[in-house]
């Protein structure tokens, strides 16, 4: 790829014909870096996702390492959230969405007819962009999943699960006196940590995080980032983020998406210090995005 061609994608007001050639060029390329790891928790191969007629993800293959944090970065609309939602079949709830390719969770096919989406989502938890606590008490929010799945047979077990999860989410000290109050009454950062506690209460194997800090202030963000680092010891985490600093701070590996294509994957340090692809370099040096 010539520098001139690169410039044409970078310029936001580039004429259409440059874009079209650029898009086809991007699509023709293979992912740069190391998409595959040994003993991966999740393996995906040749993934394509379509919304009705429009294709959102093009031939993505990526492994997510066990007890690692992988960050997915890229400009808006690059398909990173779509890819994330494909990992626990949340895209099933979107009308007209179609997913092809291979998804393996510990060698089990996520999209096989035998895989139950309910059981899958209990194993692959998710935290959303905007904190979405249910309009219930803090206690009931955390206990929700455990109650659904029948993880506690007695009240005392449930109490233990709630306390344990809130502790892991670093929220216990702040809310232990007011567990009966509505979860919607907490501050934004607390709400997001409540949602994380809610997700880990059912002991998932993988946690997907879709821009978990984009609605939070810097202090709350720092608190959540710390939490992610702690959780990484026991959980496999995939996090979509808009902030490169955040990706650099919390993740072991970083994947860069562009226009639905996985451009580059590598250890986070490598990606940020010596990106191998021009697009990645352009993005992390702030020339677009």
């Amino acid at each position: 790829m010539t520098t001139a061609a690169l410039e044409s994608t970078v310029a936001t007001a580039a004429p259409d014909r440059h874009r079209v050639t650029e898009l086809s060029e991007i699509l023709a390329q293979r992912t740069v870096g190391q998409p595959f790891v040994d003993a991966a928790k999740v393996r995906t191969r040749n993934v394509n996702v379509y919304y009705s007629e429009k294709q959102a993800i093009f031939d993505v293959s990526l492994d997510i390492g066990r007890n690692q944090v992988i960050a997915m970065i890229g400009p808006s609309g690059c398909g990173k959230s779509t890819f994330l939602r494909a990992l626990n079949r949340m895209n099933d709830t979107v009308v007209g969405c179609r997913v092809t390719g291979e998804f393996l969770l510990d060698d089990e096919d996520i999209y096989s007819p035998k895989m139950d989406p309910v059981a899958l989502r209990a194993r692959v938890g998710m935290v959303f962009q905007k904190p979405n606590p249910f309009p219930k008490s803090i206690y009931d929010n955390v206990a929700y999943g455990a109650k659904l799945h029948g993880l506690a047979s007695r009240r005392i077990e449930l109490d233990e699960i709630v306390e344990g999860s809130l502790r892991k989410a670093g929220l216990w000290e702040e809310v232990k006196e007011r567990l009966a109050e509505p979860g919607t009454g907490l501050s934004g950062g607390q709400q997001q940590r409540l949602c994380i506690a809610r997700a880990i209460a059912i002991n998932p194997e993988v946690i997907l995080m879709d821009e978990p800090c984009s609605a939070l202030d810097p202090i709350a963000t720092a608190r959540v980032e710390e939490l992610i680092a702690e959780l990484a010891q026991n959980y496999t985490i995939a996090i979509v983020t808009h902030s490169m600093q955040q990706a650099a701070r919390v993740s072991h590996r970083t994947a860069y998406f562009h226009l639905g294509k996985l451009i580059e994957v590598n250890d986070t340090q490598l990606v940020f210090t010596s990106p191998q692809h021009e697009l990645t370099e352009a993005y992390i040096t702030g020339r677009f995005g």
């Binding site: 139950d116 309910v118 059981a119 209990a122 194993r123 659904l148 799945h149 029948g150 993880l151 059912i202 002991n203 194997e205 026991n234």
Partner: protein, 426 residues
């Protein structure tokens, strides 16, 4: 840790069967609820159509009528006044005696003349007055049969037949049947006539005309008032308590039971303003108030859907608020407003309760000619007939309901078409 995780997965898997059963059960409840609603729609329509389809056809009997001046009792006079006084029922009786032979007993004679509707005499009178030259001659005519004969003939005495029918009448009808002198014909009169105590003579013409007159007044009042009110509230009203008060009022008025509007009509328009009772003009005013909130609310929605950029563009070239509203907003919002007005009229068309209280329930034979003539409307006519003891009125009632529903479907379809064809997407 891994052990714990495995057990979590196992617990979840174990509970799945039960949870999916609950899921299917819940889904089934939802499906049954939808089915219940659809079943109710079908049952209602099937019941009405099943009962009412016969109303559009009526039994006629063929008889040879001899316009005998002696039977009529009018001598040889042919001036209209004399013709009006003739005993035309006697002509019908005479024709029946000639066809079947004059029975000896009074009871039998009465039963024989009960084959033909009471209205037949009026028809003969009308024919003779239109053409006095018929006097003394004969002609073969199809005359309306009585409602009992009609009910029997429509079911041919099947299980559904629940009317009264004596042995003798059956014999006579059989004789008519042998010679094809009795048949069902399209009941054009049903759409033309006013009310009557005799089911076979009763029609919805009077009620339909009354409805037309009433709705004309309603539309004339509620549409301009509603649109003007909507324009004021959307475009001019300042944000103050008075505006809030108006809005609260409109919302609450929309939820006031319609029967209360009848009380208003009675106390204010009849007793205070001395408006004529039972008249379309009064009904129209009351229904205009009933539909006003609907029209205002839908007109406001239509105005709201005009994007502010249009207003800003017009204001930007120096148009006044009024010029913007009349020149740009109103034409663009008009399709939505018309749709709302049609839906409001559809509501007014089905409204019954308030009209009962302002005297539109009277038994009115004549078709109303003007806005202050006593009149009734279709739904009230349905109410009146539904109350009648004669079984034949059930058929008439259902027929009238079918006509009413047809009008409603027409109006709603019109609203949908209007919305689809004229409403712009921004």
């Amino acid at each position: 840790m891994t052990e714990h995780k495995a057990s979590t997965a196992q617990i979840i898997r174990a509970s799945l069967k039960r949870r999916y059963r609950a899921e299917r059960r819940f889904r089934l409840y939802g499906f049954l609820a939808v089915c219940f609603g659809l079943f109710a729609v079908l049952l209602l329509l099937a019941d009405i159509i099943g009962k009412g389809h016969g109303a559009f056809r009526q039994t006629y009997v063929q008889l040879r009528i001899h316009y005998d001046p002696e039977v009529l009792g009018i001598g040889t006079a042919t001036d209209p006044a004399a013709l009006a006084l003739g005993d035309y029922d006697a002509l019908v009786r005479q024709a029946l005696y000639e066809r079947f032979g004059e029975p000896t007993e009074r009871v039998e004679r009465r039963e024989l003349s009960a084959l033909i509707s009471n209205g037949a005499g009026y028809e003969l009178q009308a024919r003779l007055r239109a053409n006095p030259a018929l006097l003394g001659t004969s002609e073969t005519l199809w005359l309306l049969a009585d409602d009992d004969i009609d009910a029997w003939f429509k079911t041919r005495g099947g299980d559904e037949f629940t009317g009264r029918m004596s042995e003798r009448k059956l014999l006579w009808v059989d004789r008519l049947l042998e010679n094809d002198e009795i048949e069902l014909r399209f009941n054009r009169e049903f759409f033309a006539r006013g009310d009557s105590r005799e089911p076979e003579l009763a029609g919805i013409g009077g009620a339909a005309k009354g409805t037309l007159l009433t709705l004309a007044i309603t539309l004339l009042l509620s549409f301009p008032l509603g649109v003007a009110a909507a324009i004021y509230l959307e475009e001019f009203a300042p944000q103050n308590r008075w505006t809030d008060f108006i809005e609260v009022n409109i919302n609450n008025l929309a939820a006031v039971p319609s029967v209360i509007f009848g009380l208003l009509g009675l106390a204010v328009f009849i007793n205070f303003f001395q408006m004529p009772r039972s008249a379309p003009v009064l009904g129209g005013v009351v229904l205009a108030l009933v539909t006003l909130p609907t029209v205002i609310i839908s007109s406001r929605a239509a105005i709201k859907s005009v994007p502010p950029s249009i207003r800003e563009a017009a204001l930007g070239v120096g148009a006044s608020r009024m010029q913007v509203v009349l020149g740009h907003v109103l034409p663009l919002a008009m399709p939505g407003m018309l749709t709302g007005a049609i839906l409001g009229m559809a509501r007014a068309l089905g409204e019954t309760a308030p009209l009962l209280m302002i005297g539109m329930v009277a038994f009115i034979v004549d078709v109303p000619r003007g806005f202050s003539d006593p009149a009734t409307v279709l739904p009230v006519q349905i109410f009146l007939w539904a109350d009648s003891p004669e079984r034949a009125f059930v058929e008439k009632t259902s027929g009238a309901i079918m006509v009413l529903l047809a009008f409603l479907i027409l109006m709603n379809a019109l609203a949908v078409v209007l919305r689809k064809r004229l409403e712009r997407r921004w």
